[in-house]
């Protein structure tokens, strides 16, 4: 019966469910829903009946005096609703306790929320803007925020949890349907709150591990400029720096490489490899005139090869650079990668001298 009612309602209410919470949450939802329909119809029915029967009209005289007190009635309509709502409380609480207690062997993903993007950090160190999970596996999200309060909301999974700066919050779920689902920010966080959106991809059984390995190795697969563009989008650069010449919170990256920039202290600096690297690792060292010192450091968050890829990407979108950009991936295998690392650290040392 409950299932039938749920099916009747499901054309209108609640999105298709894709997680372990669906049956419990939706069951409670539809129980309350039909209770509300019943109560509302009862109130509406009484109202219509009374208005029709007792409205002032030709030839109608109220039968006075009518009762205006009944302790029995008052107790009835106090006690019955009390019992009903206590029942709703119990089922609501029970469902919530399940949400609050993840199983011990859950797969853990770190979530970092910042204006206005999500970063999901996997156990192998891979960072992604979209959440990828295997189907039928308990997933535990450990969440933090870099700036203001955000809230991770996946309607199809029926979960929502705030990401609060200065503390960790946790939630968990088991996805039951492969596919792509919307992930929203549900706590107002400023200008681009409504586009702080990403996708949850639930991989069919056995496909998640392959995806993760591939995704983590993009430096070995893509040309450096492509990899740099990916990092630019993935790691939050794009939130403040455009690639099309528009001014934003920070200077645009278009034609940045090789451009001479006026600094807030009046000096002029040429945006070369060293300057870019310094700006990524110590953003406060030299601020371009007209901008605020608001960028967080990426020290320890980006590998040298990733910074190199970013620099090559900047070169690729600058009219001031007319050299050639290598198309071979920066990391071929482990050996090639370490050579690359050495090279780039040599460049740094030279720059510092």
């Amino acid at each position: 019966m409950i299932n039938l009612l749920a099916q009747l309602g499901s054309r209108v209410w609640m999105p298709d469910n894709a997680s372990n919470y669906g049956s419990e949450v939706d069951g409670l939802f539809y129980f309350i829903y039909w209770l509300c329909v019943l109560m509302f119809m009862m109130i509406l029915g009484w109202m219509i009946l009374f208005v029709v029967r007792y409205r002032k009209r030709e030839g109608y005289q109220a039968n006075k005096p009518a009762p205006h007190h009944s302790t029995a009635l008052e107790l009835t309509w106090s006690i019955i609703p009390t019992i009903v709502v206590m029942g709703i409380f119990y089922f609501g609480f029970k469902g919530f306790l399940d949400m609050a207690t993840p199983p011990s062997q859950a797969y853990e993903i770190q979530v970092i929320a910042k204006k206005w993007s999500w970063q999901f950090v996997y156990p192998n160190g891979h960072v992604d803007n979209n959440l990828h999970v295997p189907v039928d596996t308990p997933i535990r999200l450990v969440m933090q925020s870099d700036d203001v309060i955000h809230s991770l909301f996946i309607p199809a999974f029926r979960i929502k949890k705030d990401a609060v700066p200065g503390r960790f919050t946790k939630t968990w779920f088991t996805a039951t349907q492969p596919g792509d689902f919307n992930l929203f920010c549900a706590e107002y966080c400023g200008q681009q709150h409504s586009v702080m959106k990403s996708t949850v991809t639930v991989h069919p059984a056995g496909e998640f591990e392959g995806w993760l390995t591939d995704a983590a190795n993009f430096l070995k697969k893509m040309s450096p400029a492509e990899a740099g563009a990916k990092i630019y989008n993935l790691r939050g650069c794009a939130q403040c720096h455009t690639s099309d010449g528009q001014a934003s919170t920070g200077p645009t990256f278009k034609d940045l490489f090789g451009r001479e920039e006026a600094m807030t202290d009046g000096s002029k600096l040429l945006a070369d490899e060293d300057y870019i690297k310094e700006s990524i690792l110590e953003p406060g060292a030299h601020i371009v005139a007209g901008y605020q010192n608001v960028m967080p450091t990426y020290k320890g968050q980006l590998k040298d090869s990733e910074i190199t890829a970013l620099i090559l990407y900047f070169k690729s979108i600058s009219k001031h650079f007319d050299g050639t950009i290598p198309t071979e991936p920066l990391e071929k295998d482990d050996q090639a990668a370490s050579e690359q690392e050495n090279q780039s650290s040599e460049t740094t040392t030279e720059g510092q001298q």
């Binding site: 109220a62 009518a66 008052e74 586009v195």
Partner: protein, 584 residues
């Protein structure tokens, strides 16, 4: 034509029949209004300012609903727009929804019924000449004006800075885009006039506190002979409950807003995690006031409905003491449910369970009231006049608002529905569907007393129907959008939700038109309305026993109160189109 017919059979002292002198024409000139201590004039001035703010907040609402119906609000279309323009557009939306909320909450719903209807009616219902402290009453109005001017400055600055960006270095940020809740740490860094706006809300809080003090003192000190506590009209019980909350909760808001100002101006480190503060603490402080504030809004509305349903059903209210006690129960229980705004914030599971349980307990007194109002209609003589239509609208909309609260009080379902349009719909049913509807119903009900003029029933009924239909079109669809996962405070949305937004926007314009029709009816009544009798509805509460409009000092002799809902002695007199006491 303007003379008011004398209720000839009504043996009131002759002075009250003197239609040439009433509170409206007792003295003339701007100063006689701006510095009056007459509770009726203060009520009227509150009424005009609050209706102006309702109009302002309504304009913001129509702007934001229009923005949401435009193609740019659909994320799929974002690629067609210049990114800078898109960001600018989102900023405007964020200002609009914040200003809509702040203006409606602080300048319309919270002061609304107590300040307008309460001020006008309370002393009359007590058979008194004024409130207990008339000068304090004037002071609270002046504080309200100052507070609203500060908020008006925030708006003006927003407009100025938007039009002349060069002004910004001199006058600071304008407008407000934090949401009316000012959540930290977002409000620490927002480029809008957070300090001025919170200071305005802080000042308005004092107006609210002083009105509460005044009402409590009036009900204790000024009740006339024969009016013990259980012969007090239920509107007054509701105002008493409201005043308790105003007194106990508003200071917490004041402290919170001061701390927020200190945090933003001096970086003291209470709420900002970058300064070792705790942003969740802010939410606790804020909702410790702002949830009880929901009952500051809705309790007076319930009181209005209690008066209206009995007067227009021509029957004694059903379950007087249960309605009276439920007002006080709501006022007290309302203090212990604030944590239900924070179920997803990361507060402990134990806290969530306790707040959920307490939240359900507060639903019972509200249910009791609904059943009692319905039972009042049973075997009554229901006059389907405009105020009664608002009563019926109120009961239906409040039932929907209250019942949908069950989804939100239950933890498992709230996690999904929290911060979606389901919440937006729920609180609009309670705030607007109930409070605004009760305010309009109350205004119609006491309109003849306030102005001495009758309004057009026909226009009143059409407008009420438009408001009811427009309201449901606007907000019922939002329950569906919310359950489907549409988050609130979104300047744009994914394609799936477009249809809901389009329907909702259409409804908003029907609703807006209905409200303009209400305004038209009132203005028409002022200019062309038929003179009102002293007691057009045959109610037995004391305000109907002085002439319409009341004389300057209300009653020449303090009336003796009986059962406020025993209407049997009032008989309709066709010659004056009003009720007169039959046994006189």
């Amino acid at each position: 034509m303007t003379s008011i017919p004398t209720p000839h059979a009504n043996k009131l002292p002759e002075s009250q029949h003197n239609s040439s002198d009433n509170y409206l024409n007792h003295s003339k000139g701007f100063m006689s209004w701006a510095f009056t201590v007459d509770h009726k004039r203060i009520g009227i001035m509150y009424g005009i300012s609050i209706c102006a703010f309702l109009l302002l907040g309504g304009i913001f609402a129509l702007i934001l609903r229009t923005m949401l119906a435009l193609p740019i609000a659909n994320i799929d279309n974002h690629a067609n727009y210049d990114p800078a323009y898109l960001k600018h557009w989102m900023d405007i939306y964020n200002h609009m929804f914040t200003l809509h909320g702040a203006v409606m909450v602080f300048l319309f719903i919270i002061p609304g019924i107590p300040a307008v209807l309460g001020n006008f009616v309370l002393p009359l219902m007590l058979g008194a000449k004024d409130v207990a402290f008339p000068k304090l009453n004037l002071a609270s109005f002046h504080i309200f004006v100052i507070g609203s001017l500060i908020l008006a400055w925030v708006l003006l600055k927003g407009v100025l800075v938007a039009m002349f960006p060069g002004l910004s270095p001199y006058i600071g940020y304008g407008g407000l885009e934090t949401g009316w809740t000012f959540y930290t740490p977002y409000s620490m860094d927002s480029n809008s006039a957070v300090v001025e706006a919170t200071f305005g809300a802080f000042v308005l809080g004092f107006s609210s506190i002083l009105t509460g003090v005044n009402f409590i003192a009036s009900m204790h000190m000024l009740r006339p002979k024969g009016m013990n506590w259980f012969r007090m009209p239920l509107f007054l019980w509701a105002l008493y409950g409201t005043a308790i909350i105003q007194l106990l909760a508003t200071p917490v808001l004041a402290i919170t807003l001061l701390l927020l100002i200190a945090e933003r101006a001096f970086r003291v480190g209470i709420f900002d995690p970058n300064l070792d503060g705790d942003p969740i603490l802010y939410q606790h402080f804020f909702w410790f006031y702002s949830h009880p504030a929901v009952y500051i809004m809705v309790l007076p509305a319930m009181g209005v409905i209690s008066e209206l349903v009995t007067a227009h059903s021509r029957k004694h209210i059903f379950g007087y003491s249960f309605i009276a006690y439920s007002s006080i129960a709501i006022a007290l229980l309302g203090f212990f449910v604030w944590g239900h705004h924070m179920f997803t914030s990361g507060q402990s599971a134990m806290a969530n369970a306790v707040f959920s349980l307490l939240t359900f307990s507060v639903s019972i007194p509200s249910a009791i009231k609904v059943f009692n109002w319905l039972s009042t209609m049973y075997r009554g003589e229901i006059h389907l006049r405009t105020p009664m239509l608002y009563v019926l609208s109120f009961i239906l909309l409040f039932a929907i608002g209250g019942l949908t609260g069950l989804f939100l009080g239950a933890l498992a379902t709230d996690i999904h529905l929290h911060d979606t349009y389901f919440i937006v719909a729920h609180f609009h049913y309670v705030m607007m569907g109930s409070v605004l509807i009760a305010f309009l119903g109350g205004m119609y009900h006491w309109w003849p007393k306030m102005t001495g003029k009758m309004y057009s029933e026909k226009v009143g009924k059409i407008a009420c129907a438009m408001v009811f239909v427009g309201f449901n079109l606007t907000f019922f669809i939002q329950f569906i959008a919310g359950s489907q996962g549409m988050p609130r405070r979104y300047a744009s949305y994914v394609d799936d939700y477009m249809i809901y937004h389009h329907i909702s926007t259409g409804g908003a314009f029907v609703l807006g038109t209905g409200l303009f029709l209400v305004l038209f009816n009132w203005i028409h009544s002022l200019l062309k309305g038929a003179p009102a009798p002293a007691n057009p509805w045959g109610a037995n509460t004391l305000e109907w026993q002085c002439s319409s409009p009341p004389p300057h000092d209300n009653f020449a002799d303090t009336p003796v109160a009986g059962d406020p809902y025993d209407m049997t002695e009032w008989q309709y007199d066709e010659s004056i189109k009003g009720y007169v006491k039959a046994n006189d």
